[in-house]
Structure formats: C-alpha cells, structure tokens
C-alpha cells in the first residue's frame, strides 16, 4: 500500500452508512413461542413454526413490537401507525422457509436521529447521525460448514444446521448517509455504535453483546475525491463484532479504497468481511448483479397498527438517556471532561460504574481500569473487560484499603488473576503475597537489619532520620517486598528512639 490514513484523508472524503442488527432479548421468538436462550444445544429451541414446517403460520410477538417502538422512540423516530411485514425470498439452507419475514417498504419507525460526541482537535464535537428506519425481522438459523478451505458452503464437505436462532426477533437500525465526518469517520462510526448500544442497554431490550452476535454492525463506506461533490461506490463490511473493530474496519476500508482508486482501479459494490486478525476486509459476494428478493407483503400476517395511546405510554416510560446519565456520573464523581471522554472512548465507563457499585472508590477504579489493566490489554490486543471482572478489581481495591496489599503487591495479584490463577484471594494464597503486618515478624527483620548495619543504626539514633532508608530497604528485601514500608519505617524509628 502506498497511501496511509492521513494521506487518504488528504485526498478523499468519506461517506458512511451504518446498519446495526440487534437481537431483542424477548423470552420467545418473533413468530412463535420457542425460547431464545443463547447457547442451548442445537435444534432444541424449535417448533413447527420456526422450522417452517408445512402448514405452520407465524403470529407476531407483541413484546417484540413493544421493544421496536421503544427503540424508535429513544432514537427520536416517528412511529408508523400502520406497518407491514414482507417476505424476502431467497434460498439458503439455514432459512427454514426459504424466505425471511422482514419489514421492507413499510417499517415500524422512520426518520430519527442520534447525537454522538467525539473528541476532536478542536475539542468535543457533536455529530448528529440521522436514522432512516428501524424495522423488525426474524433471524436465520446458523450454519457450520465443515471441511473445505474457506469455511463457506461451497467446497464444504458437509454442513451442520442449528435452527435455535431461526426466528429470533431482530431489529435493524439503518442510518441515512453520513457525510462530513472527514478524518473522524472511524471514531464517529464507533461512537455511534457505542452510543446506540448504551441506549439499547438502558432500554433493556437486548443483551447487546457484540461478541455473541446480539449486536452486529455492517459498515457502508465510500470515498469521493476531496471537493469533488460526487458520491463514490460503497462497499458493505460485515462481521464487525466489537466497537474497536467498527473503528478499524472503517479506517481499513477507507485506506483500501483510496489505494485502489489511486492505482486507477474502481471500487466494486460488494459485501466485504472484516478480519479481526489483520484489521483488513476481504471480498465477499458482489452486489453488482443484485439478487432479486421478490419482496411482497406477508399474507400470513395482518398489519402492525399500534394504538396511539400505547405509543404515548411507552414514550412516558423511556429511561434516562445514557448521555444524561453520563453527565450525572461525571458530576457526582468529579471527573474532568478529558478523563470522562477517555473512559467513554475506551468503552470502560460501564465497567468502572460496575466496579464502583461493588464498593470501590471511583478514582481508584478508574485508575486501575484505564491504567494497569488497559496496559496489559493493549499488549495482548484484547479488551480490558475480557481480562478481569469488576468484582475482582473491586476486591483488590478493597484489600489495598484494608492494608492487606500494597500497590506493588496488588499489581502482582491483578497479574495473577489475569493469568487465570484464580480470584484475588486465591492468587494471594498461591503466590504468598500477603503483606507482612505481624509486628513481631517485622521486629525480627528490623533487629536483624540493625545488627547487620550497626553504624547506620547509630547515625539514626543520633538524629539522622534520612539514614533510615538503608535499613528500611534491607527489611523490605528480607521480607521479599511483602512488608508495608510505612509500617517498617514507623517501627524502626520507634525502636531506635526516634518515633
């Protein structure tokens, strides 16, 4: 590659479009009574309806409608008084009916927006992301293609199908085209998905776990030569399953397209797959010969026509906005803007809140998560949350406060927990990291130090307090660093008549 990111931005302007699929956390599926629990044995949460058996019919899950309306309201959308489901027809083994029941040209929510704030060179800046539509659909089953080089159906030796996911309610949130984000495009994309995720979580309508696929993002990216006023051909990147990946995928795709254009090539309208390992996208199926889905209104379902009073009841029940909540947290903790932004950008606010809720001091919790734990996470290219739980961090902080750990020991404990050696207490036990707070044990070490350096002891007795450093060092060394240095100092000075 010849162009890097800043060169890309010098020459081209990006336009984004984001489609987010959210699995709702309803107890039952979109069109039948089957359970939706994640991780059940394959094909145990199925019935004639979600298996698409001949003669079966769908019946709409009211709770899914409610969740969709809540999402629409939280995103400032209009709620359609009348919307319909359609059939999207195509053949694929993980689609039991060989059509997907999905809203199409008559979605339940339209025309909303979501404001996101990102840190720019000129300070915090608000971007208004316009929402085109929020619509309901059913998820497909899951296929696992075994054998073959690509893991895709072509060339596979055989395929395994799990229909537990078939019929799980999905809501798709589609933005309008997002121009004008310039070099911040990757950050804006990430901030949008992050803000959306926080809203969905606050509504309680989804588990919003990107790693489990309950929130999935497709990123549409196109470039146009700077100042040209034209719109480039877009690619659609799928398989983006973490906030960090959203940012990386947009950045990577911008660089790829810029280099392609630079070499005189042309961007093809296609689906691309994000690859976590490389941060690059690889070509999927081309959309140039667009598949004809033969959409038509689903004749097995009556239109969705929510009563106006119901919508107003739901509007009144909306929870506090995550952005308002953040403001409140910031004020109550007294956190400066920059640090608050750092926490949000690192996607650590919820984690810190959770740690504080478990009794930890906010400043300490923040410093552990953003400091030591983030450092280790960065080294191994993973998220801090995947390394250690808020409960363990809160426990470590509590142990320091109780004087059972020093900061230095605590770092070793955290390292042990991350390495999988067990809970903080187990790590302390296994590694023998307890603070030596037993006075008699310390006194023995102090006396031994005095005996080995009688001259130094004499100087201290004579009032040369700074000389104590050498003896304290010896005691710390003798106790393997497990003594509390302040305590050693106190005992030593007292013993030598200076306390």
């Amino acid at each position: 590659m010849t162009l890097n990111y800043s060169e890309t931005i010098e020459k081209y302007e990006p336009t984004l479009g984001l489609e987010v699929h959210v699995e709702l956390n309803t107890k039952s599926k979109m069109f039948c009574g089957c359970a939706t629990e994640f991780g059940a044995s394959p094909n145990t949460q199925t019935c004639p309806v979600c298996l698409g058996l001949p003669g079966s019919l769908p019946a709409v899950n009211e709770k899914a409608i409610e969740s969709s309306i809540l999402i629409g309201l939280a995103l400032n959308c209009s709620i359609a008084p009348f919307s319909r489901f359609a059939r999207k027809n195509y053949f694929y083994p993980d689609m039991p009916k060989n059509f997907q029941t999905s809203q199409y040209d008559e979605p339940i929510c339209v025309n909303g927006y979501l404001d996101v704030t990102i840190d720019t060179d000129e300070g915090p800046k608000v971007y208004r992301i316009e929402i085109e539509r929020v619509h309901m659909e059913e998820d497909t089953g899951k296929s696992l293609h075994v054998g073959g080089a690509t893991g895709r159906i072509h060339g596979a030796e055989y395929s395994l199908l799990d229909y537990n996911r078939a019929g799980i309610p999905l809501v798709e949130i589609v933005t309008k085209m997002i121009p004008g984000t310039d070099k911040y495009a990757p950050e804006v994309a990430k901030a949008y998905v992050s803000e959306l995720r926080d809203i969905l979580r606050s509504l309680g309508v989804s588990d919003v776990k990107m790693e489990q696929g309950s929130l999935r993002c497709d990123a549409n990216v196109s470039l146009s030569p700077r100042g040209s006023g034209t719109l480039g051909t877009r690619s659609e990147t799928k398989n983006v399953n973490s906030l960090r990946s959203v940012e990386r995928a947009v950045r990577g795709e911008m660089i790829r397209q810029a280099n392609l254009l630079e070499e005189g090539g042309r961007v093809i309208q296609e689906t691309r797959h994000f690859q976590e390992e490389t941060g690059l996208t690889r070509s999927g199926r081309s959309k140039e010969t667009a598949e004809d889905y033969r959409y038509f209104p689903e004749p097995d379902l009556v239109p969705v026509a929510p009563a106006a009073e119901w919508i107003e009841t739901l509007r009144a029940s909306l929870p506090e906005k995550p952005s308002t909540l953040r403001k409140r947290i910031q004020e109550s903790w007294g956190v400066p803007d920059k640090e608050m932004a750092a926490m949000v950008n690192a996607d650590l606010l919820d984690t810190v809140v959770e740690t504080v809720d478990l009794g930890a001091d906010p400043t300490k919790a923040r410093s552990w998560w953003l400091g030591e734990i983030s450092r280790i996470a960065n080294e191994s290219d993973v998220t801090p949350q995947s390394l250690i739980t808020p409960a363990s961090v809160a426990e470590v902080i509590a142990l320091i406060a109780a004087g059972e750990l020093t900061d230095k020991l605590a770092r070793q404990v955290v390292e042990g927990v991350i390495k999988g050696e067990g809970s903080p207490r187990e790590v302390i036990e296994k590694r023998g990291l307890k603070v030596v707070s037993d006075d008699s044990a310390l006194m023995a070490a102090i006396e031994a130090a005095i005996a080995s350096q009688p001259d130094t002891a004499e100087r201290i007795r004579g009032g040369n307090i700074p000389a104590a450093g050498a003896l304290i060092g010896a005691v710390m060394k003798a106790t393997g660093g497990q003594a509390d240095a302040a305590k050693v100092r106190e005992l030593l000075l007292k013993h030598l008549g200076q306390g």
């Binding site: 004639p48 079966s56 019919l57 709409v60 027809n89 039991p96 060989n98 033969r294 959409y295």
Partner: protein, 499 residues
C-alpha cells in the same frame, strides 16, 4: 340399515340414542372404503387403526355418561392438505412422500375435540392446484357418477368420498373453488366460509390470502354442523377472525326465505355455460321465488378480470409458500450422493418432486414478483381484487345473497382438459371472485343436466361474516328441490363396488 347411506346428523342421532356404536359406524365406513375405493380412489391414506381407536374412545365416554358434542362418533374424510399428527400428509405431491407431521392442524384439533372420527386422508390436485384431481402425484380420483369423469378439484377426493358413501362428512380447502366445484360435479354440498372463519394453522399453504378450509357433506344441515365444529378464532392464525361463530345450524334449519333479496350475477351466466346447467339453475331460482324470495339482477363488471388477477396472486404466493420444499428438513431428497452440493440437491429434488402444474405456477409467480414486474403484475392484480370487493359491496347493497351456477359445465372426462391449462382454469370462473373478496360461498346440487345426467351445482354467495345467510338460503332451496324430486339426488348415483 347400514350407516353409510345416512346423513351425519342421522348418524349422530342414532349414536346418541344408543341405536348404534361409533365403532360399528366406523367399521361400516371402513368396509365401504375397502369395497369401493379401488374404483373411486378418493383416499390416499386410510387410518383404520386410528379411526377405530377414536370411535372406541367415543363409545367408552358415552357409556360412562359423558355429554358429548353433536358430531361425536361421526366419521369424516380429511383432505390431505391438512396436517394430522403422525399421519402421512402428502398434499398429493411426491415431494412430501413419507412425511408425517409432528403436529395437528387447528381444524384437526377441533375435530378431535368434537369427537369426529377421522377415517383417512383424501386425494387432491398436487398442493391444491387444479380443478380435476388429475394433478395428484398418486393418480386421479374418479367421479362416482361416472368413473370415467373427473370429481372436480382440487378437493376431488373429499367430494368423491361423500358421493361414494365412504364418509358422511369431509374437510375441503378452497383457494379458487376447490370445495365448491368438486361439490358441484359430484352432487354434494361444499362450503367455503368467510376468509378467516376457519383457522389455516396446519393447512399446507397454496395461496395464503385466498386459502380457506370448509365443511363438505351430502346436505346443507351437515355442512352447518361441521362448520360450527371447525370454525372460530385461533391465535395461531393472525388472519383468523376474532369474533364468535355464527349460528349456522339454526340458519340451515330455518327453511324460510320470505322477503329475502336474491341477486343473480349477470356476468356469471350466459355464454360458455352448458345448456343443462342453465336450465337447472333457472329452475332453482323459480323454486326460491316460490318460497317467497325476491329476485334482483346485479352486475359485477370487474369479475371479468378475476381469473387473470387470480392467476397472478395465487401463483405469486405459491412461489414463495412452496420454496420451503427443498429436501433439507423433510420430504424426499434426490441426488444426495455425498458429492453434490446443497444447491444441486435442492434443484434435483424440486425437479423430480413437483409435478407439471405446480412448476408452471411457481414459474409464473416467480416471474410476477420479479423486480421490475411486480407493479405491473402483482400490484395490478391486488387492485383488481379491490375492484372485485367493491363490486360485491355494491351487489350486496341490493341483495342479501348472490347466486350463480357453481361451474359452467358438468363433470368432464378424465384427460379431456389435462393438456389445456387455460380451459381447465375457466372451470373456476364463477368461484374465484368469492375467494378474491374473502366472502362466503356454498355449492349445493340443483339437479342433473338433461344432456348428460350429471349433477349441476348452485352457488350461493354471502357477505363476509354473514355465512348464516347462505346456510339459510341453501337449506330452503334444498328442501324445496327435495320435495320436487321426492328423493335425494345422490340416491341416483350408480352402484359401486359390485364385485
């Protein structure tokens, strides 16, 4: 006297009086089937064991003093398009050979709750597409009036089983006339209730917005009894009507049409209608006038587009409904040799599993729904549907019910129209508008055509959710004709199974 020549209500009466047992009645019908079905071929599956067990259960409950529903212990023939748990359901297609559904359709659930004894599954045009039962993958059904002639379709098996005295009751389904046209050509009674009156859950869909299950019998009262047993709101079918079932039996027993306005639809008579059909139809009108009805002529100018619109809507929906038959989960699988991919196996299975007429309609529908053609075909057809509804609304403003011959001709010869799909489609010219508007329609016999001695059907159409009206008019007409003839039409059916 054997129960086979009795009506359902007469059988019910003798059962409730203890004059016969349900097991005897079931056995007599099973014996009759064994004797004549080799000639008629009304049945695709005979559930001897299940029927006798069900009958024995009814006898036991009656002996124990339980109050049983009106039709408890009365045998019935079920069209093979309805699922019955554990009983083969083929829809007359090779595609579903060997499939035993794991669930009961709502109609079957209701039949079982009413103690109706299900004898077996009846033959039909493949996936209910046809007007002669010649499109069954398992060979045609023969008309008991003349074994060289068709029994109508798609529900030829159900109608023939009634005319051959193999069952006193049958379930049919009607998408464009599949209950009424077979009733007309076999001299039996068939009712297509208002769309949504009977649940479609478990009815293997041909065209979801047109399909409607309904009762078939040898007289109007029996259809009314069966109607009340199977109708009612079903939360599993979103399109089912959430309202109490009307009093059909009471209406069938009224035998009074004084002051009722009966509308003759101008467009459903005249050219193309066989002379003998017209004669008998006019005689029936006279009988109604004698009974005190007032005759008005109504016009439905848009009916001329009904057939064309029907052959866009029904195939469109069928192309999507039948997509699920891909060999992946149930039914036959062709060509899976461990080498071929899923797509090729799907293609080979659909090539072999579907018959000519089904393929013709899938291709038609796929084309009609294609992007670029949708508006011109499916979109326009839906508009025609609205116009037909408006025609009916206008007509029902002038008349309580509308009438016409059910079919232009009497039963034609097997093979006569098999290679001329258009001529075949014209059979349903008078029945299709009823489905397009979602209203109720009944066919009852009004005599034998002079020229060929075959039954002629009289169609009564009633406004949506006013199915009682067609039972009232049908019951009155039936009584009037019976007093003219001195004996039921079906007593003239040639003797069968004289081996």
């Amino acid at each position: 006297m054997s129960s086979i020549f009795k009506s359902a209500s007469a059988i019910a009466e003798s059962l409730s009086k203890g004059e016969s047992s349900a097991v005897e009645v079931a056995q007599e019908h099973l014996d009759r089937i064994a004797a004549v079905d080799g000639d008629v071929h009304a049945f695709l599956y005979i559930d001897t064991e299940g029927a006798l067990a069900q009958a024995a259960d009814i006898d036991k409950r009656r002996a124990a003093g339980e109050r049983l529903p009106a039709l408890a212990g009365v045998p019935l023939a079920l069209k093979d398009v309805m699922t019955q748990q554990g009983i083969p359901t083929t829809c007359g297609s090779k595609m579903l050979e060997g499939w035993r559904p794991p669930y009961d359709s709502t109609v079957v659930t209701k039949l079982k709750a009413n103690g109706v004894v299900i004898l077996g599954k009846t033959n039909m045009d493949e996936f209910a597409m046809g007007s002669s039962t010649e499109n069954s993958a398992y060979g045609p059904t023969h008309n008991p009036w003349d074994l060289t002639r068709i029994p109508g379709g798609s529900g030829g098996g159900s109608a023939a089983s009634l005319a051959a005295f193999e069952a006193p009751l049958a379930i049919g389904t009607d998408t464009g006339g599949s209950i009424r046209q077979p009733a007309a050509v076999t001299g039996t009674v068939g009712v297509k209730p208002t769309y949504g009156a009977v649940s479609r859950y478990g009815l293997v869909a041909f065209s979801s917005s047109l399909d409607q299950a309904g009762p078939c019998a040898r007289n109007v009262l029996d259809t009314a009894l069966l109607h009340e047993a199977i109708a009612g709101y079903d939360p599993k079918d979103s399109t089912s009507i959430n309202a109490p079932v009307g009093k059909m039996v009471e209406a069938a027993k009224k035998l009074d049409v004084k002051g009722m306005k009966i509308g003759i639809v101008k467009e459903l008579s005249g050219d193309g209608y066989q002379a003998g059909v017209k004669t008998r139809f006019n005689e029936a009108i006279e009988a109604l006038v004698s009974a005190g009805a007032e005759i008005v002529e109504v016009s439905a100018p848009n009916f001329e587009y009904a057939l064309a619109a029907y052959y866009l809507i029904a195939p469109s929906e069928c192309s999507s409904n039948l997509a699920r038959f891909d060999s992946m989960r149930y039914g036959i699988r062709v060509g899976d040799n461990g080498e071929r991919g899923a797509e090729e196996v799907m293609r080979m299975t659909r090539e072999l599993g579907f018959g000519k007429e089904v393929k013709r309609r899938i291709i038609l529908g796929t084309y009609a729904l294609s992007s670029g053609y949708y508006d011109a075909y499916y979109g326009s057809a839906q508009k025609v549907r609205t116009l037909i509804k408006q025609d009916f609304d206008a007509a029902f403003a002038k008349a309580d019910v509308l009438v016409s011959p059910t079919c232009p001709t009497t039963a034609f010869k097997i093979g006569e129209k098999a290679d001329d799909p258009l001529a075949m489609y014209l059979n349903d010219i008078a029945t299709i508008p009823v489905n397009m508007a979602g209203i109720g329609g009944m066919s009852l016999p009004c005599g034998l055509a002079e020229e060929d001695g075959l039954p002629v059907g009289f169609q009564i159409m009633s406004p949506a959710m006013k199915d009682e009206l067609m039972y009232q008019v049908g019951g009155t007409l039936e009584a009037a004709l019976l007093s003219q003839w001195g004996k039921p039409l079906l007593s003239s059916v040639p003797a069968l199974g004289a081996k």
